[in-house]
């Protein structure tokens, strides 16, 4: 059976240039299986632009490097700090002068690396 050809308009000239729309799910973390979200109720990283109320995307699968912002458990509580590490020792440093440095020892464990910070406005 012959079909009538469908009448169509002029094909979009932009079609060849189409790209996938940005997807926040992919921008926030590359590893959704190993990413956990934390609520920051701390001003320890205020100078790194992490304010109270921010949501931190924390990826466990990436290896922490010197200068990363990490979530770590210190004496049984979660904290957020810069990780400073050299050959001799590792320290957790706040971005707020109010807080003293924390020397890494067996009571301090890095939970994961902060890979994104989300602030919901309404």
């Amino acid at each position: 059976m012959r079909r009538k050809r469908k009448v169509m308009g002029f094909p979009s000239p932009a079609r060849d240039y189409q790209q996938e729309r940005l997807d926040w799910n992919k921008l926030i973390t590359n590893h959704p299986l190993s990413t956990f979200y934390f609520r920051c109720n701390s001003d320890a990283m205020i100078e790194a632009a992490i304010v109270r109320g921010a949501i931190l995307a924390v990826d466990r699968s990436v290896s922490p490097r010197n200068g990363d912002i990490v979530v770590a458990s210190v004496e049984g509580k979660f904290t957020v700090r810069y990780l400073q590490r050299n050959e001799y020792k590792s320290k957790l440093i706040a971005a707020n002068k109010k807080y003293a440095d924390i020397i890494m020892n067996s009571d301090v464990t890095v939970f994961g690396v902060v890979v994104s910070v989300v602030m919901q406005m309404r």
């Binding site: 299986l33 956990f36 979200y37 934390f38 979660f78 464990t109």
Partner: protein, 418 residues
């Protein structure tokens, strides 16, 4: 076989670092008895299935952390673990919330010991859950190797029964009652016939096994001898019927509250049906008092109703369930539990309207899809049927429930500093 160590407890520890060195136990639904225990709790002598009230003293003396089971959290963590495990092998069978069989048959050129070390490390690093690994030629032996790893190789958490000698060592070190698939009765029967270890069982004559343990037992014994005989289920099988029932937190006589509870169970059942693209032809409703309260009058009734056409929408399932309840409810009893089973499931793409059935199936289907979408986005039971009122009045006891850390934006783990 990969198995998460004290899985529920490990999930609780992940979001509560203060528990790292404390013994932890997780209680079953309704805070009944201990169903998951950390090693520390085990060595304090807390047995699996001990009711909470029997160990109050021990809990206080040893500062044991006690949790109600937080299945929402465990399910999410389980999915993360399973998907991570699946990325290491060509095929996998998820056996339970915390166990999976990984098919390594096609990996004969790989160093399996090295692979299992990587698996163990990766799950610990990426998800934060400790696992044990048992590798062997058959599923039954792998399950045993896993157990053996936990008992005899605690440091590494890995046991690879790579050679016949190692398989024999493991068989000799495992009692018959601890073999996967041997129930209590069979274990007692075998013991009375002189079978003490798995090794004794593996050497039993075929004819004797067939006679006393049937074909199923024979398959199991064949597996112990290193010959794979139990089928793999790489794709989870669709369930043939679905049950939703809960005990009430307290005993309830009021029909209105029981109706609400059943309405919620029915809606949850209908949701599970839609999830696996099935529709039910029958609805079975049951209602019971608490048989342990010997001072109470006992009542237990159930009823099965045919549905006019197979369905999986909330309205039809709830309507049938409530009709069933009307028929079996008797006033004057203290009820403990109400539940619904949907049965005789068929695929929902073959649904046909009965000639005079008033419901338009397509409209119904798109309505339920919309309801499911809204509830997924805005939270469970945002849109619900009139009969599904708040859960409060009959909710389970869950006095030590932790938060839904990974699934609810208002319950994220917190970083608190003044």
């Amino acid at each position: 076989m990969v198995d998460c160590n004290s899985f529920y407890c490990s999930c609780e520890r992940l979001f509560n670092p203060a528990l790292a060195k404390r013994p932890v136990i997780v209680l079953s639904n309704n805070d009944g008895c201990a169903v998951s225990r950390t090693e520390e709790a085990v060595s304090l002598g807390i047995a699996m299935g001990t009711p909470e009230f029997m160990i109050y003293e021990k809990i206080r003396e040893n500062n044991i952390a006690v949790f109600s089971s937080n299945y929402t959290l465990y399910q999410d963590i389980s999915e993360r673990v399973m998907l991570t495990l699946g990325s290491f092998v060509p095929g996998m069978e998820i056996y339970s919330i915390d166990e999976a069989f990984l098919d390594m048959h096609d990996l004969r050129y790989e160093d399996l010991l090295d692979l299992s070390t990587r698996i163990k490390k990766t799950v610990m690093k990426n998800i934060g859950i400790p696992v044990s690994v048992g590798i062997a030629p058959t599923k039954t032996l792998a399950k045993m190797a896993n157990r053996y790893a936990k008992k005899k190789h605690r440091d590494s958490g890995i046991f690879y029964a790579a050679t016949p000698a190692l398989v024999d060592e493991m068989l000799e070190g495992t009692e018959v009652k601890d073999v996967w698939g041997i129930g209590k009765q069979h274990a007692a029967f075998l013991k009375s016939n002189g079978f003490n270890t798995a090794s004794d069982l593996a050497k039993a004559p075929d004819a004797w096994i067939l006679k006393h343990l049937t074909v199923v037992g024979h398959r199991l014994v064949t597996e112990l001898r290193g010959i794979p005989s139990i089928q793999w289920q790489f794709v989870p099988q669709k369930r043939k019927n679905i049950t939703t029932s809960r005990s009430f937190g307290t005993l309830i006589a009021d029909k209105k509250i029981i109706t609400e509870a059943l309405g919620n169970h029915a809606a949850s059942c209908a949701g599970k049906l839609r999830n696996q693209n099935s529709a039910a032809q029958k609805v079975h409703v049951f209602l019971q008092t608490n048989p342990h309260r010997t001072q109470d009058q006992q009542y237990l009734r159930s009823i099965t109703l045919d549905l006019p056409v197979p369905c999986n929408d909330n309205a039809s399932i709830i309507k049938a369930a409530l009709k069933g309840l009307d028929l079996i409810y008797r006033p004057g009893y203290n009820y403990k539990k109400v539940g619904i089973i949907v049965m005789d499931l068929v695929p929902d793409n073959t649904l046909q309207s009965a000639m005079f059935h008033p419901n338009n199936l397509h409209r119904l289907k798109s309505l339920m899809q919309t309801v499911d979408d809204i509830n997924r986005m805005k939270g469970k039971e945002t849109v619900r049927m009139g009969v599904q009122v708040g859960e409060k009045k009959y909710r389970l006891r869950a006095n030590h429930l932790s938060k839904h850390y990974t699934t609810n934006i208002n319950e994220l783990p917190e970083i608190n500093e003044p």
